[in-house]
């Protein structure tokens, strides 16, 4: 191939005890989007970091074109035209867009001071080339939306005139509309001849954007294939390494009695508007909607994080007036948050203390707590949920995403929760753990617990829910039973174009 711009030969990267990359060959052509995929821990991030110069490999070679290179730092890689758009943004909130794009490379005037005018002009040009000239270059990035911030990140990467760009899970925090516009811009970059490495685990995106795909598993390369030569099942099998017949499995189930009802429930900030939903015992109800449609806000409202602005909330037939988490949890409601690390767990604390964070008071209503009894309880849940941890004293930050999510589940199960709100339950979790979480949800439902699930992954909502509400702009714009509507119809409702109530 004459247009190959980057090749790695037998890259090996070891961390004490783990071979993160085992003799990985990889190549990138100019003007292609090469997707790098694998479960968490498969090595995709490590490989991209080696290419970016953030890690120095123990073995193997990297070639840019025909020239062998070895990067000591991200700076070296940048100078050779390899730029990255990281998952966690690298923007500084109270510097403006232009200052961020040219951070630490600010143009100087003749006095040696920063030339803000030139910097702003250049930034504007870069943003124009991305069709993002609506972004004000003088605005601190703190005041931009996530999607706009990402555009600034891309502009920043482009300011290095890269030949190769690495996108690390760029869509993790974007709504679908924003994802589409991101993809349009990536395609434009691709047409200009830049080679793009795209790290992701969202399968539904690959077809839209990718040309070739490389699957990694346990640090080894499994295969590199053209995107139109594989189907989803084959990809999943390659990633997980075992056959998966059914991702979304639901058992037969009966629903008895209503456990949660809202009547024209609104918040105080106008992000949830007159929502009517019901949840029955043993039912999984999905709430579909774009990011910003008010789904998370609805969950926070029900769970008592935000105050009720209007309407009524009934839990098990009882009206809840002044809602607060303490009150709601007493009614048997639990919430698995969208951001596990920020809101779900005390990461520095052990599995043990996280597991009993909610239930401690119910186990020990008297003054003192018993360490011995806690160990018993927690050990029991760790076994039940198959949390992979050497012992219950291990800090949660040392667990993988899937196991962390299990600890969050254990926290609620130990508190005898029978109504669970799941907000993006599988975000950032690898395929194997995802399936375990799904199986768990199914099991909970058959045991008579009720689940309200919020997710932006449409297949997940459709696959798992008995009933689906579709939200748009703070309102419920549609409702359907399992199998009643197709993904396209639901998607249209989410965008606010289908159905009878077209908001906004």
């Amino acid at each position: 191939m004459d247009n190959v711009i980057l090749t790695t030969r037998a890259i090996t990267k070891e961390f004490p005890g783990v071979k993160a990359l085992d003799s990985v060959d990889f190549d990138l052509r100019s003007g292609e989007v090469h997707i790098l995929v694998g479960e968490n821990g498969a090595g995709k991030s490590t490989l991209s970091k080696v290419i970016l110069g953030a890690y120095i490999p123990e073995g193997g070679e990297i070639y840019l074109g025909d020239e062998k290179v070895s990067f000591k730092s991200t700076r070296d890689a940048l100078q050779r035209g390899i730029a990255a758009v990281y998952q966690e943004f690298t923007l500084i909130p109270y510097l403006n867009v232009a200052q961020n794009i040219f951070f630490n490379r600010e143009p100087r005037n003749k006095y040696g001071l920063i030339d803000h005018k030139k910097m702003e002009r250049d930034a504007k040009k870069l943003l124009e080339s991305l069709n993002c000239d609506y972004i004000n270059v003088k605005l601190p990035t703190k005041f931009l939306s996530v999607a706009e911030q990402q555009m600034v990140e891309i502009a920043k990467a482009l300011s290095f005139n890269p030949r190769i760009m690495v996108f690390d899970e760029p869509t993790a925090t974007l709504s679908e509309r924003e994802v589409e516009s991101l993809f349009r811009r990536i395609k434009k970059l691709k047409e200009s001849g830049i080679g793009i490495i795209y790290v992701s685990h969202r399968m539904q995106e690959f077809k839209h954007i990718g040309d070739r795909i490389t699957v990694l598993r346990d640090g080894k390369k499994i295969a590199t294939v053209n995107i139109d030569e594989v189907n989803d099942m084959e990809l999943v099998n390659m990633m997980v390494g075992r056959d998966i017949s059914q991702v979304y499995h639901r058992s037969e189930n009966h629903f008895t009695g209503e456990v949660l009802r809202t009547e024209k429930l609104s918040d105080k900030k106008g992000r949830v508007k007159e929502v009517d939903i019901t949840l029955n015992k043993g039912e999984i109800v999905g709430i579909a909607g774009l990011v910003g449609a008010g789904r998370t806000e609805l969950a926070r409202l029900i769970f008592g994080i935000d105050p009720i602005g209007g309407g009524k909330l009934f839990i098990k037939g009882k009206e809840i007036k002044d809602n607060s988490p303490v009150k709601i949890v007493k009614e048997g409601v639990g919430m698995v948050c969208e951001d596990r690390k920020r809101m779900g767990l005390a990461l520095n604390h052990s599995v043990m203390w996280n597991t009993v964070a909610v239930s401690l008071k119910s186990f020990f209503p008297k003054l003192l707590i018993s360490h011995k009894k806690i160990v018993e309880i927690v050990t029991d849940y760790v076994k039940q949920l198959r949390v992979a941890t050497p012992d219950i004293y291990r800090a949660c930050k040392n667990l993988s995403g899937g196991n962390q999510q299990k600890v969050v589940l254990a926290k609620w199960l130990s508190a005898n929760t029978d109504i669970m709100i799941f907000d993006e339950p599988t975000r950032g979790i690898d395929v194997g753990a995802k399936m375990e979480i799904y199986a768990m949800m199914d099991k909970l439902a058959t045991e008579g617990k009720s689940i309200l699930m919020i997710s932006s992954e449409l297949p997940e909502v459709i696959g798992m829910s008995d009933r689906i509400y579709i939200m748009n702009n703070g309102r419920i714009v549609g409702e359907c039973k399992r199998g009643e509507l197709s993904a396209d119809q639901i998607g249209a409702l989410m965008l606010g174009v289908g159905g009878d109530s077209c908001a906004s």
């Binding site: 953030a54 500084i92 909130p93 109270y94 510097l95 951070f103 609506y134």
Partner: protein, 327 residues
Amino acid sequence: MQANTRAKSFITDFVRKIPPVLWITLLLITIFSMASDQYLKFSNFTNILVQSVPLMLVAFAQTLIVLTQGTDLSLGAQVSFVTVLWIYLTKAGLPIYIAAIISVVASMFVGSINGLIVSKGKIPPFIATLGMQNILNSISMLLTAGASIYIYHPLFYDVTKAKIIGIPLVVWITAFMFMVTWVVLYKTKLGAQIFGLGGNQEALTLAGINLVKPSIKIYAFAGLLTSVSGLITTCRLESGQPVVGAGWEFEAVAATLLGGTSLREGKGGIGGTIFGVLLITILKNGLNISGVPSLYQNAIIGLIILMSIVIDALARRMKSYEEGAKL
């Protein structure tokens, strides 16, 4: 479009950012001018400006450090240390100017040690500088045997009494130091790095910036500002006093906060700090002039400053509704 409306709200926010300090200051001036007819004289206002100088310089230093999400508890001790060292060295026979330069350098050195410990040792600035505060206090005490030390030199009188176009020299010096600080903050790489340290350290690491160097520079620059404050204080007192600066670091934090710089997210700037310092100085000066017994002054000063901070925080919270929604 969205970006533009947000731009607007940011600008209005910015304009509204200063008010609480301003009204409180105006309120204080009104009260004091009613309490004493001496108050509204021009000479008193020059007086307030002059009195504000030492704290002003320390507050500039503190603002820079607060912007990096730190606090420097050694700044007050640095001021004392500089006053002591300058007099001590002069007494020991060094020419007064050389002694001044050495004192400035020593203060900058102390600052860079702070910066080194904070960045390289990765320990909370609060603790690192608390340790430094203790160490400096000791040194000042040892150099002076616990009492003030004096020399006579006409320079002191000249510095405090000199005027240029009717405005005292020390005010000019402060204005100049403000300009320098402003340029550092908004016109140099280091300035961008200060906002970076406070806002997103990860970004600095990914840009291949070693955090140690900028930290050392920032703390050393803070040391420069405090040393100027120390020199001016020495001139005014005509002596070196081992505890003269005690507590200034906290007053400087209060001024910084009142000036709209946030302790949490690398937000703010150097301009607002001036108003914070003026509020504190006007309060102190006014209580003196209107003859409030010194017995009550401490509690009143503390209470009014605390209340101003509370009002300021509440006013700001009402405005940034949006931010408040995010937990």
